[in-house]
């Protein structure tokens, strides 16, 4: 962030006190609020460490087994396989939709990023219900049993199909930003198109591929829904089973800790890749749009490839969903439960979005307006909740409430709290960005024109920051809406949301009953998603 960089630049020349506390001291109230938000965000991570240390012996016993090695191997194996497959799908799709004359490439680009909005557990449910042993295909073919889709195959298939857009989006961006004269220069110097792609284009794209790939790997490691429905024993599923079994809480915490360590390594890789991504653009000046490459006869295989990916990742799941939904509707709907669960989902997600936005405003104000070591720490700590998988955040909060604050255990408040701190960084980025667009000078100018600080806040700052706050809130809302493991672990007894409803029905094999809540979830998600994609920030 610019402000942080400015703070660093300032920091070198300043006396230590100013460096730590900032040149402009933030109001004490704001600083106090910031510390509260920071502490709240750090709570799950801190308590996880505390819970593990509390029973270090048991934790070590739980972790130092061959099973842990197996878990790491399986989870990393899945992450590596999915990442490789996602890259293999995304690279040709990105190139075809940006650089070739593929018919309808804009439509393809939109269609092919859409699978990202399908939550992994809904995707997994749809694949199981379509291709599983007792699924729609088996029914259609009139066979008793199909070969099992469960395990690695299913998890790999589902996660690949719903995460490749995480590579596709940054890759398309990188391809669009790439200076076309680089390719032209290489061709003029006598290199064949294939050679040019290898020696000039690919090195330019490597940072985007790397960054997208790490995102996919992180997603796979923290995913709970798909691996659980596909019954693949990865970390998250094992943690959940250990927790559910009732007496394996230390074990769950210890496994959570190992998972977090694995993810931290990946985070470090991601940070390095992102830093390397600042490939120096040597070329100033006007850019002409790149000439689309003529596909000629290759157009047909290219279309077939795009069509196949869209068919498997989008048309098939949506088709299956509609198929089950119409079956369910014709056999009668239980509207009461649906409305209650829908209301629960909406309420929890909206409350989390509100709480996260308020916290994010505090953090963003501190880091943008009062850059210093202290405010930077608050900002960094704000990311702690995000760095943990949802299931680990939930687990830590279960421990915390059962041991320290029992009256809060399984209350709606804790669920909202968990969702808010987990997704806090999603709100900090857009709000911080919009605050950067309101330089203090603008407010000073308004003050100079005779307006009171409050009037300035109302007439200048708020309207300018509003879109950032809305965008951040919408992003948190979307993610909280479809969050599964935290809701499973923390929701009050009897408090079902659409997400948990889908999950429960699917785990009992009630595919038809899962369809309506899944559909409703996607419908509720559509308006904020549309809002965000119109702002062009859905990829962030």
């Amino acid at each position: 962030m610019d402000a942080a960089a400015a703070g660093r630049a300032l920091g070198r020349r300043l006396p230590p006190a100013a460096r730590v506390f900032g040149v402009r001291r933030p109001p004490l109230v704001l600083l106090g609020l910031g510390l509260v938000v920071g502490l709240a965000a750090a709570l799950p991570a801190l308590y996880l460490v505390f819970a593990v240390l509390d029973d270090a012996r048991g934790a070590l016993d739980a972790v130092l087994t061959g099973r842990t090695v197996g878990l790491i191997t399986r989870s990393l194996g899945l992450a590596v396989a999915v990442t490789a497959a996602a890259i293999a799908i995304a690279v040709p799709l990105a190139w075809l939709t940006v650089r070739s004359d593929l018919p309808g490439r804009r439509v393809w680009a939109t269609l092919l990023t859409l699978p990202l909005v399908i939550p992994s557990y809904i995707g997994a449910y749809l694949f199981v219900s379509a291709l599983g042993p007792r699924g729609a295909l088996a029914g259609l073919l009139g066979v008793e049993r199909l070969p099992s889709i469960y395990g690695f195959t299913g998890a790999f298939l589902v996660l690949t199909l719903f995460t490749y857009p995480l590579v596709l989006i940054p890759l398309r961006g990188a391809l669009q930003r790439m200076d076309p004269s680089l390719e032209e220069a290489a061709r003029v110097m006598g290199r064949s198109p294939r050679d040019v792609f290898r020696s000039v284009v690919l090195p330019q794209l490597a940072p985007a591929i790397g960054a997208g790939g790490v995102l996919v790997a992180l997603y796979v490691l923290s995913d709970f829904g798909a691996v659980s429905i596909m019954r693949f024993n990865s970390f998250t599923r094992d943690i959940y089973i250990a927790y559910e079994s009732g007496f394996g809480r230390t074990e769950a915490a210890a496994l959570g800790m190992v998972l977090v360590l694995v993810m931290l390594v990946l985070f470090a890789v991601y940070a390095r890749v992102r830093a390397a991504r600042a490939l120096h653009r040597v070329t100033p000046g006007a850019q002409r749009p790149a000439q689309p490459v003529r596909l000629g006869g290759w157009r047909w295989p290219a279309l077939a490839f795009c069509g196949a990916v869209a068919a498997i990742a989008l048309v098939l799941p949506v088709g299956v969903l509609l198929y089950w939904a119409t079956k369910q509707i014709s056999s009668g709907l239980e509207l009461g439960a649906l409305a209650t669960n829908g209301w629960h989902s909406l309420a929890a997600a909206a409350a989390a979005a509100l709480a996260a936005s308020l916290g994010a405003i505090v953090v963003a104000l501190l880091s943008v307006r009062y850059p210093s070591v202290v405010t930077r720490i608050v900002e960094r700590v704000g990311y702690a909740g995000y760095a943990l998988p949802g299931i680990v955040v939930a687990l830590a909060l279960v421990f915390f409430t059962t041991r320290v604050a029992l009256p809060l255990y399984q209350t709606l408040g804790v669920l909202v709290f968990a969702l808010a701190i987990h997704y806090l960084p999603l709100a900090v980025s857009p709000i911080g960005a919009s605050l950067l667009q309101v330089p203090p000078r603008l407010e000073e100018a308004a003050r100079g024109l005779g307006r009171s600080p409050l009037a300035v806040l109302r007439t200048i700052t708020t309207p300018l920051v509003a879109s950032g706050v809305l965008g951040g809130g919408a992003l948190v809302f979307l993610h909280a809406l479809k969050e599964l493991p935290a809701t499973l672990l923390l929701a009050p007894i009897g408090f079902d949301t659409l997400a948990t409803d889908v999950w429960h029905q699917t785990s009992f094999g009630f595919y038809e009953a899962s369809a309506i809540p899944a559909l409703l979830l996607l419908l509720i998600a559509a308006p904020p998603l549309y809002l965000l994609s119109a702002r062009g920030s859905v990829a962030s």
Partner: protein, 346 residues
Amino acid sequence: MRAVAGADLELPPGGTCALLGPSGCGKTTTLRLIAGLERPDAGEIVVGDRVVSSAERFVPAEQRRIGMVFQDYALFPHMDVAGNVGYGLGRRPDAGRIRETLELVGLAGSEKRPVHELSGGQQQRVALARALAPTPDLVLLDEPFSNLDASLRDRLRQEVSQILRTAGVTALFVTHDQEEAMSIAETVAVMREGRVEQAGTPEEVYLRPSSRWMAAFLGDIEVLPGDARDGRARCELGTLPAGAVSGACDVLVRPEAVAIGVSGPASATPAEVVTRRFFGHDQLIGLRLASGQVITSRRLGYPAWHPGDHVQAWIEGPVEVLPREDEPAASGAEPHLAVGHDDDVA
């Protein structure tokens, strides 16, 4: 819509040619057509004695052996200087050739430097070295100096033109800057709305413009109505050679060809100074002639003339006389581009 239609142009080998025109006239497109980066709808492009583009064949860019310096240089950001310069020399580039080319552009010893650390002028010379390293038949330069600041630009123009001459390569460069074109190129081709309006030496195009538009594009011009008969044109500033033109005509006069003095030769005409702008090294003097027409004279900075002065004005230097209708009819023929051709220059 056609960006280029009727760009007939032939270049002699070994020389430097400027493709000059206002922005949007199709000069960059012409360059890209020659490089093979764009496909022409019709017409023919010949490099040396090789047809690289015609109705029957299209040689792709990578097989044309043409060097190109891009407007934004297009240096590969993930390679060092040697990587960039050696890129056109194949998978295993000859280090000796890289060193040789870098010496030519005055960057010896910079092989290992990352390109983003270079200054604008150095980047430009790396781009030039990269284009020259594979010893191409022809080097194309697209607005090569437009990304440089004014002080650097003037120095690099001379340097680049010297480098190109040393390398002995045929060069074609695109520019919208008249002074740049005339000061470095041996041949200047002026383009307008997709066609070559006139080509020739800088003196030819400046002093003998083929149309009023050409004259005005290359510099300030005064147009005096005249009447031509028997090879002589009469206008308010005297009687001048008219060539083959006969009848009503335009006499095109550069301001520097309008001389003034307290007294003048017998052919001089009385005039009154109405405006004066002083630029230090020279001054522009607005003169009202007897007919009421106001023309401009460019003189050295001294002596000073002042509004109200009554002077004598006369022509001193070449002028061009053109028929009154100055727009030539468009030709329907397909464009023909021949670069480095041994035939006579058209």
